[in-house]
C-alpha cells in the first residue's frame, strides 16, 4: 500500500473501516518484532523474545453506519485493536484503511487531522479533564480544531443536551455521578460530530441500571445518526443489545464474526459457547432462529377422509390448511375432520378452525414462549402476507434455552 487513497471499488465505498492482517507485538523493539513475526509460530517467537502478541493477524471490516462490537475477555486484544484505529496503539504490521485511506502510514499532521475530524473516542474510565468544566470538556475537540470560544461552547451545549445534560455545562466533572460523567465523555465525542466513534468499554465502570440507561441512550443516538461505531465490551448481553455485528476475540485472534443471534445459535468453538452460555437466550433468539418446516400441511381442496388418513399416518392430531394461493387458512383437528366426513363435506373449508397462535419471524422467544404447548399445532410463524414460514415446537424452545449446543434449523 502506498498510503494514499486506494482505488475506489463498489464494495469499499460501503466500508468505513478495513483492517488487514493487523498485528501488535508488545515489549519488543521494531526490528526484533519484525523478525519474530516471520517465524513459523510468531506468538511463540515473540514470547521467546520476552514480549507478547496483543493482536495477531486480525482482519475485519466495518460497514458505514454500523455498530460493530468487539467482544472478548480482558487480554483478548480488543482494546489493542480499537486503539489501532486512531493509532493510540501503533500496529506492528498490517494495514488499516479508513474510507480507503491507510492510516498506518499517515503523517503525524494527517493523523492529528483524522483524530480531530473523523474519529471520536469514549473511554472506559471517562478520562474527563478534571480541571475543566463540563462544557469545556465537551468542547475540547473543537478547541483543538481552533474554533472560536462562543461557537464551540454553543456546539458543546448542543451535544450536552443530546445526552441529557442540558444546563450542566458550568459544573466540574467531580460534581457529577458516574453515569453523568460518561454522558460528558459521550458529549465530548459527539461535539466534533465524527463519522466514526470508538468506544472502549464505555459502560463497564457503571452500575447495571445506569449501564442499561446508557445503552438505551446510545441506541437512541444511533437510530438518529447511524454513525459508524466500534464498541469494545466484555459483556455479551451488552453486545447483543446494541451490536449489529459482533466480533469475538481471544488471545489476540478473531474467533468469530457475525450478528448476535448467529453467535448465540452457532458458536464457533467451545470458547464462544462458554461465552454465550450466560446470555439470556430468551431475549436474543427470535422465532426465525428456531423455526422449522411444518411436517404436515393440507390444501383446502382435500377431501376430509383423505385428510384424516394422512393425520393418522403422521401420528398427528391436527394440520395446517392452505388456500389455493398457498395462504394459511387455519388448522383442522382430527375430531373436526370426523364431523366433516359425517356431514359428507367435499373439502376442508367447513372444518377449518383458528385454534393456533401465530408470531412473526423477528419475535423474541421470551415474548412468545408462554404460548407453546397450548394448542393443537406448534407455535406458527407467519410472515406479513400470512404465508407460513414454519413452526416452533415447544421442544425446540426448550432445547435452545437449555445449553444444548446445536440449535440450528432442522
Amino acid at each position: 500500500m502506498s498510503g494514499h487513497y486506494s482505488q475506489p471499488t463498489g464494495e469499499s465505498e460501503e466500508l468505513a473501516i478495513v483492517g488487514r492482517h493487523l498485528t501488535k507485538a508488545y515489549g519488543l523493539s521494531e526490528r526484533k518484532a519484525a523478525k519474530a513475526l516471520e517465524a513459523p509460530d510468531p506468538a511463540a517467537a515473540v514470547a521467546a523474545e520476552g514480549g507478547f502478541l496483543g493482536a495477531h493477524d486480525v482482519s475485519f471490516q466495518v460497514r458505514k453506519g454500523e455498530m460493530f462490537v468487539i467482544m472478548g475477555l480482558s487480554g483478548s486484544g480488543k482494546s489493542t485493536l480499537l486503539r489501532m484505529i486512531n493509532r493510540l496503539n501503533e500496529p506492528t504490521s498490517g494495514e488499516l484503511l479508513i474510507d480507503g485511506e491507510d492510516i498506518v502510514t499517515a503523517s503525524k499532521t494527517r493523523l492529528r487531522e483524522l483524530r480531530n475530524n473523523k474519529i471520536g473516542m469514549v473511554f472506559q474510565h471517562f478520562s474527563l479533564f478534571p480541571h475543566r468544566t463540563v462544557r469545556d470538556n465537551a468542547a475540547y475537540g473543537l478547541k483543538v480544531r481552533g474554533m472560536p470560544k462562543a461557537e464551540r461552547h454553543e456546539r458543546a451545549e448542543a451535544a450536552l443536551a443530546r445526552v441529557g445534560l442540558a444546563g450542566k455545562g458550568h459544573k466540574f466533572p467531580h460534581e457529577l455521578s458516574g453515569g453523568m460523567r460518561q454522558r460528558v465523555g459521550l458529549a465530548r465525542a459527539l461535539a466534533v460530530d465524527p463519522p466514526i466513534l470508538l468506544m472502549d468499554e464505555p459502560f463497564s465502570a457503571l452500575d447495571p441500571l445506569i449501564r442499561r440507561d446508557m445503552q438505551d441512550l446510545l441506541s437512541g443516538l444511533q437510530a438518529e445518526d447511524r454513525r459508524t461505531t466500534v464498541f469494545v465490551t466484555h459483556d455479551l448481553n451488552e453486545a447483543m443489545r446494541i451490536g449489529d455485528q459482533i466480533m469475538v476475540m481471544r488471545d489476540g485472534k478473531v474467533i468469530q464474526v457475525g450478528a448476535g443471534v448467529d453467535i448465540v445459535a452457532r458458536p464457533a468453538d467451545d470458547y464462544v459457547s462458554e461465552f454465550v452460555s450466560d446470555v439470556d437466550r430468551a431475549r436474543v433468539l427470535t422465532a426465525q432462529d428456531l423455526v422449522r418446516p411444518a411436517l404436515l400441511t393440507m390444501s383446502v381442496k382435500e377431501p376430509p377422509d383423505v385428510a384424516l388418513r394422512r393425520l393418522a399416518d403422521n401420528e398427528a392430531n391436527g394440520a395446517f390448511v392452505f388456500d389455493v394461493d398457498d395462504r394459511l387458512l387455519g388448522v383442522v383437528s382430527d375430531t373436526d375432520l370426523l364431523v366433516a366426513i359425517n356431514a359428507d363435506q367435499p373439502d376442508l373449508s367447513g372444518a377449518v378452525s383458528q385454534d393456533y397462535d401465530t408470531v412473526e419471524p423477528d419475535a423474541v422467544v421470551g415474548d412468545f414462549m408462554h404460548l407453546s404447548g397450548r394448542r393443537l399445532v406448534p407455535i406458527t410463524v407467519v410472515d406479513r402476507e400470512r404465508r407460513l414460514a414454519g413452526v416452533v415446537p415447544r421442544a425446540a424452545i426448550l432445547s435452545a434455552l437449555s445449553h444444548v449446543k446445536e440449535t440450528s434449523h432442522a
Partner: protein, 311 residues
C-alpha cells in the same frame, strides 16, 4: 589498590576552570549580583512597618485564614522588634533569587526528564549527587570562582535547592492519568497542547509542592551562606556564634524560623495546600446557572431520566 589521585585531579580541574573560564564566571557573578540587588531593593523599598502590612495582606490573600495570618503578622513584627528587618529582607532576597533560578532551570528539566528516559537516566544520579554531597565541599570552590560575598552562597543554594523542583515536576507529570492524556491525544491534540492543557495543569499541585520544597531548602542554606559573606541573617548568626554572643544568635535563629514559617505557609497555600475556604471569600458565580439548578446537580441526581427501561 592503585591511587587515582582524585583530589589532585579535582584541584587541577578547578584551577583549569578558573584560568580559562574566568570571564564566564564573572558574567554569572555580575548577573547574580544584579538579581540579588534588585530583589533586595524591591523588598526594602518600603519602611519595615509598611512592608510588614503588605506581607500580612499577601498572607491573607494566599492562605485565606485569619488566625494564621495574624500569627504570621505578629512574627514579622517580632523580627522588626529585634531590629533584624533589613537582614531578614536580605536573606529573603537570597532565598527568592536562588529559588527563581532553581525553578527556571529545574521545572523545564523536570518536564524533559518526564518524557525522556534517557534524560531521566542522566539527571537522576546527578540530582542524588547534588543532594548528598556535603555543602562545604562545593561551597569553597564557588568562593574560588566568585569571590567572597553573596554570590557563592546563592550559587551553592541553587545547587542544594534545585533537585526537588526537577524531581517533583517529573513526578507530577508522570502521575497524570495516562488515559486522560490519551483522551486529549485521541481528540487530535499535539504533544505541546497535551502538556500545556492537560499535564501541567493536573501536575500543578505536585509541582507547587516542589516549589515549596525549593524555598525551604534555600532557606536552610541561609546560615551556611553567611559563612562565605552572604550577608543577611546568616552573617548575624555566624558572627554571633563566632563571638559567643548567645543572645544575638538566638535572635538571628528566631528570625530565620519566622521567615521560614512565613514562606512555607504562603508558598504552599499558593499551591492549593492548607488554603482555607471561608464564607467571606468572594466567589466567582458560575455563568448561566441559577442557584436552584446548582443545588439540584450537587447531589448528583440531576440528570433527567432518559428511558423508562431502567427496570
Amino acid at each position: 589498590m592503585p591511587d587515582f589521585r582524585i583530589g589532585e585531579r579535582g584541584d587541577a580541574v578547578i584551577n583549569y576552570l578558573r584560568d580559562h573560564f574566568g570571564g564566564f564566571f564573572d558574567v554569572i557573578q555580575q548577573v547574580m549580583t544584579d538579581l540579588l540587588g534588585l530583589t533586595y531593593q524591591a523588598l526594602s523599598a518600603l519602611s519595615p512597618l509598611a512592608m510588614i502590612a503588605l506581607l500580612t495582606v499577601l498572607a491573607l490573600v494566599a492562605t485565606r485564614r485569619i488566625g494564621l495570618t495574624l500569627i504570621l503578622g505578629v512574627g514579622l513584627l517580632v523580627i522588626e522588634s529585634m531590629d533584624l528587618w533589613f537582614e531578614t529582607m536580605q536573606s529573603m532576597a537570597t532565598v527568592l533569587g536562588a529559588t527563581a533560578v532553581a525553578l527556571v532551570v529545574g521545572i523545564p528539566l523536570g518536564i524533559w526528564s518526564a518524557f525522556s528516559p534517557v534524560v531521566r537516566a542522566i539527571v537522576t544520579p546527578l540530582l542524588d549527587f547534588m543532594q548528598t554531597i556535603p555543602v562545604f565541599v562545593y561551597l569553597l570552590p564557588t568562593v574560588l570562582f566568585f569571590g567572597i560575598g553573596p554570590v557563592p552562597g546563592v550559587v551553592a543554594t541553587i545547587v542544594f535547592a534545585a533537585p526537588p523542583a526537577v524531581r517533583l515536576t517529573q513526578l507530577g507529570i508522570r502521575q497524570v492519568d495516562a488515559e486522560t492524556v490519551e483522551a486529549a491525544t485521541a481528540f487530535g491534540a499535539s504533544r505541546w497542547e497535551v502538556l500545556r492543557e492537560v499535564q501541567l495543569p493536573l501536575a500543578k499541585a505536585t509541582i507547587m509542592a516542589g516549589v515549596n520544597q525549593v524555598i525551604m531548602l534555600a532557606l536552610s542554606m541561609v546560615v551556611v551562606a553567611g559563612l562565605v559573606g552572604g550577608g543577611g541573617l546568616g552573617s548575624i548568626v555566624v558572627n554571633a556564634v563566632q563571638s559567643l554572643q548567645i543572645g544575638a544568635s538566638i535572635e538571628g535563629g528566631l528570625a530565620v524560623v519566622i521567615l521560614a514559617i512565613y514562606l512555607d505557609r504562603v508558598s504552599s497555600a499558593l499551591g492549593g495546600q492548607g488554603r482555607g475556604n471561608p464564607t467571606w471569600w468572594p466567589r466567582r458565580k458560575p455563568a448561566g446557572a441559577d442557584a436552584a439548578h446548582a443545588e439540584q446537580v450537587a447531589d448528583g441526581v440531576g440528570a433527567p431520566p432518559l428511558s423508562k427501561a431502567a427496570a
